[in-house]
């Protein structure tokens, strides 16, 4: 399961509860290639290839949050596409199709009783969109960095010191916390009652991760030949965010570097108590 899937999973679960389906049962298909049999459960398609064959009738809602879904059969409830690819064949009968994101093709002979569309950003060039998004993130984090440099410089310094002095320990703590926290959040979301807590947790996680990146950028900014410290921090953060995005395109090595920086940032924020105290590993004799 990829990280990007998590917010969409939360969204789909949220929609599932608001759709008033029998929310206790949902089938989450996260990987592999599946042909669905008749099922009473709501279906959530993650990074998988799912086919609803022509002779199959599904009374419960279907949510496409990733992967590839092909519908040839009958869905008596709403089909919601949030992301991924949806193909509706000529024999398909669908009570309602709600499109929020992702790409879809619908055969002209298909019977779709109702169609709603929450088009957020169609028609725009995807490359342009990702550049704008990157610029927004970089600008926002740079602004946060500059502000923190001004008001909470000691905290930033402390976090940056922790990543620089103890990269392995902070990355390990970050990795462990991220793995367990993410599984815990998904798990909470599945209880449905705890979806708000899960969203809150995700938000806290994003803030902690952002703080880690800002601290790394702050460190980087100190190396830049800039006189004013908050400008240096802002420049460091912005260039780090762009560099991380570019690195992410490099397979394996790039991912490893990005992962290391992100996780050590998270770990450093946690072990320094948000930068309020220096981190010292347990003392060991030589």
């Amino acid at each position: 399961m990829t990280l990007e899937l998590l917010p969409m999973l939360l969204l789909s679960l949220l929609l599932l509860t608001s759709d008033g389906a029998d929310a206790g049962v949902a089938r989450l298909v996260l990987s592999g290639d599946h042909r669905l049999d008749a099922t009473d459960e709501a279906v959530i398609v993650g990074d998988a290839t799912v086919t609803i064959p022509a002779d199959t009738e599904i009374p419960a809602p279907v949510y496409v949050i990733g992967g590839t879904t092909r519908i040839d059969g009958t869905v008596r409830a709403r089909v919601t596409q949030i992301a991924g690819t949806l193909t509706v064949g000529g024999d398909a009968r669908i009570a309602e199709l709600r499109h929020i994101g992702g790409t879809y093709t619908i055969h002209p002979d298909a019977e779709v009783a109702r169609r709603t569309s929450v088009d957020l950003a169609t028609g725009t060039d995807t490359r342009l969109r990702s550049v704008v998004a990157l610029a927004l993130v970089a600008g926002l984090l740079a602004a946060v960095g500059a502000r923190l440099e001004h008001t909470r410089r000691r905290n930033l310094d402390t976090i940056a010191r922790a990543v620089a002095r103890h990269p392995v320990v902070t990355a390990t703590v970050g990795a462990l916390l991220t793995i367990t926290a993410l599984s815990l959040l998904v798990f909470m979301a599945f209880t449905l009652v705890l979806i708000p807590v899960s969203i809150l947790g995700l938000l806290v996680g994003v803030i902690v991760a952002a703080l880690g990146v800002v601290a790394w950028g702050h460190r980087l900014g100190q190396l830049l030949p800039l006189q004013r410290p908050h400008v240096a921090t802002a420049a460091g953060v912005a260039s780090l965010v762009v560099a991380l995005q570019l690195l992410g395109a490099v397979p394996i090595v790039g991912d490893a570097v990005v992962g290391f920086i992100a996780l050590s940032g998270v770990g450093a924020v946690v072990v320094t108590y948000l930068g309020f105290t220096d981190f010292h590993p347990a003392p060991l004799p030589d």
Partner: protein, 460 residues
Amino acid sequence: MTARHAHQPVDRPVRQSVLAVGSPRATDAATAARTGGRLRLVDLIADREWVPIAGYAFYVALLTAGYYYNLTFVQLGLIDLGSNRLGMTRSSVSLVMAVLALVALAVSVAGGVAMDRRGWSRDLRVKLRGLTAVAAVQLALTVLAPLLRTPEGFVVWVVACAATIGVGMPVTFSFMADLIPVRDRGFAAAVPAGLAFFVAALYPQQWRVEEFSAVMAVVMAPAVVVLAVLAFRPSQLVDRLAGQQAQFGPGRYTRPPASTASTAVFALAVAAMFAVFFIDSLGFLRIIDTPAYISTSWQSPDLGVRIFIAVAHVVGAAMAGVLYTAFDWRWLLVWVFGLFAFTHLLYTFHLRTAADAVPPLVLPGVYVLAVAFYTTLNFALWPDLSTSRTIGTRCAVGVGVAGWLASFLSTSVALASDAADVPLLTHLRYVDALALLLVAAVPLALYAARVRALARQEPS
């Protein structure tokens, strides 16, 4: 040792709050700046100190091989041998396994105490001789295993095997005091913990005792010869390795000025680790019997899944090694309990809501993380809570009571619940309850210990 090492001031551990992640200390930053929290092994390699490096290699190879043997032959092979080949009933095989655990425990404690009383714990050569004898007998037992035809022979075989395990446990675990400096113990414990499970996850795929016994015998025979040469022939290498104990020996929590490894602390550690092993075997024994879970994880026909599990073991052990080195052992314990509780919650939730769906890999993944954590802790903790005078006893009691007695008791309980037709879900509910209780109890106990420490400091 080079002069550089000899003249480095000893960075003394201070008693610090177990709740504080770390406490600010003026000298700490200086020490960290000088050594960079680096492994001693890195310095040793840079200085080409081959003798201690050989000691590392020996320790890691020994523990990996020993633990792998235990995971495969003892835990899987014996059950297969008894029930499938000798046609014994499930309960009588379990009875034999219980005998194995109890004999191993008794021999191990007796052996450990004798090692300390007679000073064998401090003599590397004596320990090597003991190990040679253990390895030779185990080689013979391995070769004999496929030839067993009667349940009586099986019982005799198991008792002999238990005796060698009993002698082997304090001997192998106490090698850490001779071979691994305190700074590197988390790392040295993580490598065998990761490797043994890594190999065990990939081989054997299908259990066939003849094939496995032949492969093991081919690997073990040269190892026994090497051990015998090291143990009985005069060698400078062994002499120099034996001399390391004075420096490496005292465990991390026993060093002056403040030893935090009192008998009470040791007893608590044993109790906590007992609970860990007990929960693990209690839950796991039933999960292992549930085909839907085991065939989609540990015994999956899909090699990718098994590689995932194997790699997760290595990653988990590496994390545990880093955490053990950087934090107090009690933090690692909190994580172990937390991960176990979470694992059981995941399994129970899956059972309740989606029992017929393919279980996601996160279930075995979190489980593996917990196992990697406690295995690493088990390797490193007992030597670190002992001095060279107590290491035999403490390793024997620690591993024996926490590992073997817990497995014995939980096997009995799991079998009893199986025999009484307790459904998996009910069984796991008890395990869940226990896991949650411990998750709550450990942080509370840590907090109470802190309160007690503060109360003592208060001027009267």
